[in-house]
Assembly symmetry: C2
């Protein structure tokens, strides 16, 4: 958003990313649950910016920022000088001091995460099909999702539908419909960022689909054999981590103190305090919103911040003082399976099938590129009509961790 908004500005733009594509994260869970292919939700950054003559795209991994010398350092030693720097390096999943859980409970932030989770889910059914031991088979057919935010809710809904619909007639020795899908949320309700009524609606919808929703206690241990939840043990061979995120290491690069979630505190102009050339935006920024709350870590907020940073730079180039950033909250939305969703527009709340249609339309609309929009629509139409999932590939190893 920032790079695009600088297209016609009298500046040279260098876009650095460690991937060669822009990923549309809101649909990543559908890659993890075999509905979409990675390329359906990823567009090459070069293609997106190819017509901006003032813009250079650089594949590179940032390792530091020299604020005195004003350059960014990459892992191969290259130094990229800047007059203005926009840091929009996002967030990754966090284990709150339990990094040893990561191998057994992968999170969902990158394409490689999604194909790995897809591999584990599909492989669990395959291994269950040939497992003679009843207890081990039950553990293979148990899927625990830790974290009841939008990602956790979406994953739980998608996995139970995979089990109960798409795979239904494909096995001979197991009944995929007997799978257990367990959603663990430490707080008192799922979707805590939503109003209570929508949380309840989502919980009832999930439970009607067959998901077990466990509230009020956190996961206290994750191993390759299951999840412990304050004494209670849930045997499960597939665990998915959706319980928390932590900002990218931007605070470390910039040499500033971060907040508890690793975010960089920014002022009203989204600048680093005392360093006007540096903007920090998106999930990496801790920007004030209202009543002590921060701007939420969702895509629409990140896009507004990107557009603002570009606008502020344009203003400064004209020696004008940019007005402070004002976040316009458009709402929260989360989908629950193939025909229900919840949307909170503030005063208006929508649930069920209409919400799901709105959710789908919004996600198609915000996907980048005509090709991806068309392909995602077709994949959805196909999955909706046939109840089948099209991308059921186990790639990489065929062993469980």
């Amino acid at each position: 958003m920032a790079a695009k908004a600088l297209a016609s500005a009298p500046v040279r733009v260098t876009m650095i990313d460690r991937m060669n594509y822009h990923l549309f994260q809101p649909l990543l869970y559908q890659v993890a649950t075999a509905t979409l292919s990675p390329a359906d939700i990823a567009t090459p950054i070069r293609s997106t910016l190819r017509d901006q003559a003032n813009t250079n795209v650089l594949l590179g991994d940032v390792t530091g920022v020299d604020r005195a010398a004003r350059h960014v350092t990459l892992d191969d030693g290259r130094e990229v000088p800047y007059d203005y720097l926009i840091v929009a390096t996002g967030a990754r999943h966090a284990y709150f001091g339990h990094d040893d859980w990561e191998p057994v409970a992968p999170g969902l932030k990158k394409i490689d995460d999604a194909t790995e989770i897809r591999r584990r889910i599909l492989l669990a059914f395959e291994k269950a099909e040939t497992e003679d031991d009843e207890a081990r088979r039950r553990a293979l057919l148990t899927f625990v999702i830790v974290g009841g935010g939008p990602t956790g809710v979406e994953m739980a809904g998608a996995i139970i539908e995979l089990a109960k619909k798409a795979l239904l007639q494909d096995f001979r020795h197991i009944d995929p419909a007997s799978s257990r899908v367990v959603l663990i949320e430490a707080g008192p309700r799922i979707l805590p960022a939503f109003p209570q009524t929508l949380s309840s609606f989502a919980q009832k919808s999930l439970e009607r689909m067959g998901v077990e929703v466990l509230l009020g206690k956190p996961a206290t241990n994750c191993t390759r054999d299951g999840v412990e939840r304050e004494g209670a043990w849930i045997p499960a061979r597939t665990i998915i981590w959706a319980a928390g995120v932590e900002a990218s290491p931007a605070a470390k690069w910039l040499g500033v103190e971060s907040d508890r979630a690793g975010r960089v505190p920014v002022n009203g102009n989204l600048n680093l305090a005392g360093d006007e050339p540096i903007f920090v935006i998106g999930d990496t920024a801790a920007a004030a919103w209202k009543e002590g709350a921060l701007v939420p870590g969702i895509a629409p907020a990140a896009k507004q911040m990107g557009a603002y940073a570009a606008q502020a730079i344009r203003a400064r180039l004209k020696d004008a003082t940019p007005a402070p950033f004002r976040y316009r909250h458009q709402g929260n939305l989360a989908t629950i399976g193939r025909k229900s969703a919840v949307i909170d527009f503030g005063r208006v709340r929508v649930t069920g099938f209409i919400a799901w249609l709105l959710w789908g339309a919004a996600h198609i609309y915000f996907l980048i590129g005509f090709r991806n929009r068309l392909m995602v629509m077709l994949h959805w139409l196909w999955a909706y009509v046939t109840f089948r999932q099209g991308v059921r590939l186990i790639t990489g190893s065929t062993r469980l961790p």
Copy 2:
């Protein structure tokens, strides 16, 4: 083909594969060159066979066959008994005693091969964009394909088009159109299985597109920096191996002598000599055809052999003697870029755009599943109209070997 042809036979079928999908190999090069996603050319084996009540699908890696006890051994120790065994384990690429070339010159047989080759090709352009040294940049923009069979020809055509069309406006410091694509064939002409006139046509077409075709001398060394060809050195950071295949280790499992290419000699019924319950078919079999030639290692031949094995088993179940296998050669075809192909129907030969349309129609037709057919058609249409490649993802590491 064999499993499907046994759908209504009074037998229990167990299909063992180490992957959970059937791969349509003829289009794998389009995954490697960023036109198609893996899922577009792969269908879950369970889905394909879900409606066959007599058929069981087993994800497993075969490590041996006990012909006396009549069972197949899997890598986890499981033993699968059989009355009839059909071995259709295909071929993999072979380096003829130079296995050390594999890391620098990957071949194209599996989905993971294709995404790895895609990664290397796209990454080479990215690295070239930021390379200041002229010689190293030239090496990054040089792509050598070793082997002038259909796969080599298809890869060469697809890479030169990626460079000259799809990537054309995406870089600022390099001109992708200046890339060198070199096709090395040890024999006197490319497409040696085709008539001379079609080989010449294909060579001229490739050369017109900008591919350098080097004939008559083999590659004598492959390193991460280039290819040696009898004294001459071609600096190149991307090498693709399309020079030879070797059958799967079925001969070892069965305890029989293979031919030089690792294939298992079979009799007129595609049985192991002296072991009627065992059929060996497809690329793993050395089956006589005509004038001392073997049935060629192409998909239509493998499918005929699969159908024959099922038919022979049905006959034996009725105590009848199956007629020997007769291969019906329908032709050879290879495509050269986005609007040309060569087809050899025996008496009739077709070249150019008409051949390309026939090639496309045949490949869409033989793809399994309506969904895949539709998706591949749309991807092709999109790529044809826009000259863009849709699946330009670098997944995994962003370092070159």
